[in-house]
């Protein structure tokens, strides 16, 4: 089982009241950025990644967001290039490069090849569509988001695998002369993983390409649905999906004592947490989601708040006329104080833990919850997501050390018991499916019955 460390690399010194009054991390004016803080934090996060490798994580996962103190990794490939040189054995997992907003897939192919070469083949690239707000930030037409994504992906793979030089004349991308000199270290190209939230199109696309799908903390019930969709698609494509095709990212914080963990873990709710990633008008720009995905979102967002997509926000986007009862709308209307909004945010702390939006505790007390996730999902890859807020570096590293030295060894043993193999132990898509037979089960429906139902009002 592959265990990876993840942090959003937040700008932890942003004034929380600014985020809350803005109702969003995206769009907080950059006058609050301090270069000394920025310089310190970028270096701290690189040190943290090295430390995570030392204490036992198999991989360092990076991501990318733009125009927001929520995540400082606005050019993830720069960090990945540094990690390629300063780490020794950890996989560098990029989940992922936002192909539609970057809009130069040949350049991405070149950058990633360099990282793979410098790291001697430790790169795991991945692709995302970019958050809605990032279509606004980088002026990428949201109506073409899916088309940009698909074609850019094809350009990258072609640049890595098709002998050059050749011409590319597509619908959205045109190149006269594709012939990158530096090609990836791994052949035919680095293994690709794809992170996802709730879009069924992404799940189907992953299964068609035999790319592992990494669920970003989605509620277990909906994750089970998506993984079954993957499994059915895989069978149609002629292969058996298994543990090697799936990963799961879990927000977690660990400390030496329960009291300390509970006190510090509140950082996960800083500024409203991921529910305040963006406002609805920026989260779902026109055409960004298919109709089907939007409908699915409307149903599932009730128990899931990643990247600012929540039922409350959907109601705003959906022109619900009776929204004045909710805190966010009242905050916007000036009817609620920041303090009241904060009380509501932090008042959900226990419910967020009850619903597994975040797991907090000692190495011992977090184990049953982690085992439950493994029981239900059997993920070949597990990501450990450090909370967002103003924890200091020692507190963050302590959490990582305790997870790395105490939690991970126990989970590895448990993974063996469950027969979980990761994508490096078994090639995704390598096991044929015989038409007409029953495909392998991917999830444990019995275990799911023991999973808590998420409280719809909780957004972390």
């Amino acid at each position: 089982m592959h265990m990876m460390y993840f942090t959003e690399r937040p700008y932890r010194d942003v004034p929380e009241d600014e985020v809350i009054s803005n109702r969003s991390f995206f769009g907080v004016p950059n006058k609050f950025f301090d270069r000394e803080v920025g310089a310190r934090l970028y270096n701290e996060y690189l040190d943290e990644a090295c430390h995570a490798e030392e204490v036992g994580f198999d991989g360092i996962m990076l991501n990318e967001h733009h125009g927001t103190p929520f995540c400082m990794g606005s050019v993830m490939n720069v960090e990945a290039a540094i990690l390629a040189r300063i780490t020794k054995k950890a996989r560098i997992v990029l989940l992922g490069n936002p192909l539609p907003t970057l809009r130069n897939p040949l350049r991405i192919a070149e950058e990633l090849a360099e990282i793979d070469l410098i790291s001697h083949g430790r790169l795991v690239p991945g692709w995302v569509r970019g958050a809605g707000s990032e279509q606004i930030f980088h002026n990428a037409n949201p109506a073409y988001n899916r088309e940009y994504f698909n074609e850019a992906h094809d350009v990258v793979i072609a640049a890595w695998t098709r002998p050059g030089p050749f011409r590319w004349e597509g619908k959205h991308f045109n190149y006269r002369y594709i012939n990158p000199w530096a090609l990836p270290y791994q052949k035919p190209h680095p293994p690709i993983w794809i992170p996802g939230v709730i879009s069924p199109e992404t799940v189907i696309w992953c299964a068609e390409h035999r790319y592992p799908y990494i669920g970003l903390g989605t509620a277990l019930q909906s994750t089970v649905e998506l993984w079954n969709l993957y499994g059915d698609t895989a069978a149609r494509e002629g292969y058996q999906a298994g543990t090697e095709n799936f990963g799961y990212l879990q927000q977690i914080f660990v400390a030496e004592t329960e009291e300390k963990a509970q006190e510090l873990g509140k950082a996960a709710l800083f500024g409203g947490g991921a529910a305040n990633f963006s406002r609805p008008e920026w989260t779902l720009p026109p055409g960004y989601n298919s109709k089907e995905a939007t409908k699915r979102l409307a149903r599932q967002a009730t128990d899931y708040g990643f990247l600012g997509i929540t039922s409350e926000k959907l109601k705003e986007a959906g022109e619900d006329r009776h929204q004045h009862s909710d805190t966010r709308a009242r905050l916007r209307a000036g009817q609620v104080s920041i303090e009241e909004a904060k009380r509501k945010i932090y008042g959900n702390y226990q419910k967020a833990q009850d619903g597994l939006q975040i797991i907090i505790g000692t190495p011992k007390s977090v184990m049953p919850k982690l085992r439950l996730i493994m029981d239900v999902l059997h993920p070949g890859v597990m990501g450990f997501f450090q909370p967002l807020g103003p924890l200091n570096q020692e507190q963050r590293m302590t959490s990582n050390r305790l997870i790395g030295t105490e939690v991970l060894p126990a989970l590895r043993e448990y993974a063996k018991e469950l027969g979980i193999l990761d994508p490096f132990e078994r090639q995704p898509g390598s096991r044929p499916y015989v038409a007409g037979t029953k495909r392998d089960p991917l999830v444990d429906i019995e275990a799911l019955k023991h999973a808590p139902k998420r409280d719809e009002s909780v957004r972390v």
Partner: protein
């Protein structure tokens, strides 16, 4: 009373196209705005007394399927030109609203002779010299709709736009329209840098420009920019005070009078 209008799917220009028709008399091409056909309003009824209104529902909106080869507003204009030719409607009077006004202007740059007279109501398409075009893609549907009138509460027909009730179906129709508008006009933001240059070549096309002085969607300075660009044809500009982006419902009586007199 029977409906004053009907909607039919016509196969034209290589695609199915929903066309709303109503009224009697000489045809008048109506190009609707970026949220779709707003429904049959009192100004439609007034103009339909002596004109046959022909309102194609823009491809990608309502019951008209998307036409993939169209990738910008100039190409949308070329599409409508093809529709007019195939339906033997050339030359025709045209009135266009916002995105529809921009489309009519693009059509005029390609061939001014396809029109007899042209009415542009607060058209998008030219970056205003002052202020800017409001970005509807970074706000919710409701905000976009509210921005289009100066004061929703003082405009009786505002509540009737798009059938009034905001049903899930209407929500989806708005999202379709916004998506299609984004698809063809995302960048530059709802404008075409070349348009003023090519409008200078328009001759022999009497044009009436109508704007609201408090237009929050397209700053009123764009009205003069349009007038200046159309300097080589007979162009007149009317600006209504205390009016936003929808003079046709915010100043309905004055609007109807002005348009009817111009189109005589």
């Amino acid at each position: 009373m029977a409906e004053e209008w009907s909607e039919e799917i016509t196969h034209v220009a290589g695609t199915d196209l929903a066309i709303i028709k109503g009224g009697k008399g000489k045809p008048l091409l109506v190009l609707h705005e970026e949220l779709g056909h707003p429904g049959w309003l009192s100004w439609h009824s007034a103009l339909a007394k002596d004109r046959t209104l022909i309102i194609p529902v823009q491809p990608g909106m309502g019951k008209s399927p998307r036409v993939e080869p169209i990738r910008n507003v100039h190409e949308l204009g070329l599409f409508y030109s093809r529709v007019l030719r195939e339906l033997n409607l050339v030359p025709i009077d045209v009135i266009g609203f916002s995105l529809g006004g921009w489309t009519a202007a693009e059509m005029a740059t390609a061939n001014a002779r396809q029109f007899r007279k042209m009415v542009l109501v607060a058209p998008l398409g030219i970056k205003p010299p002052q202020g800017e075009i409001f970005d509807p893609f970074a706000v919710t549907q409701r905000t976009q709709l509210n921005v289009t009138v100066r004061n929703p509460e003082s405009v009786p027909e505002f509540a009737k736009l798009y059938g009034g009730e905001r049903t899930p179906e209407q929500f989806e129709a708005f999202e379709d329209a916004r998506t299609e508008t984004a698809r063809i006009a995302w960048e530059p933001i709802l404008s075409n840098r070349c348009l003023p240059y090519f409008l200078e070549a328009v001759t022999g096309l009497p044009t009436q420009i109508i704007w609201g002085r408090e237009d929050a969607m397209v700053h009123v300075s764009a009205a003069d920019a349009y007038k200046q660009a159309l300097k080589n044809t007979d162009v007149r500009l009317t600006i209504f005070d205390n009016c936003g982006h929808r003079p046709e419902i915010e100043k309905s009586a004055e609007f109807i009078k002005l348009v009817r007199e111009f189109l005589v």
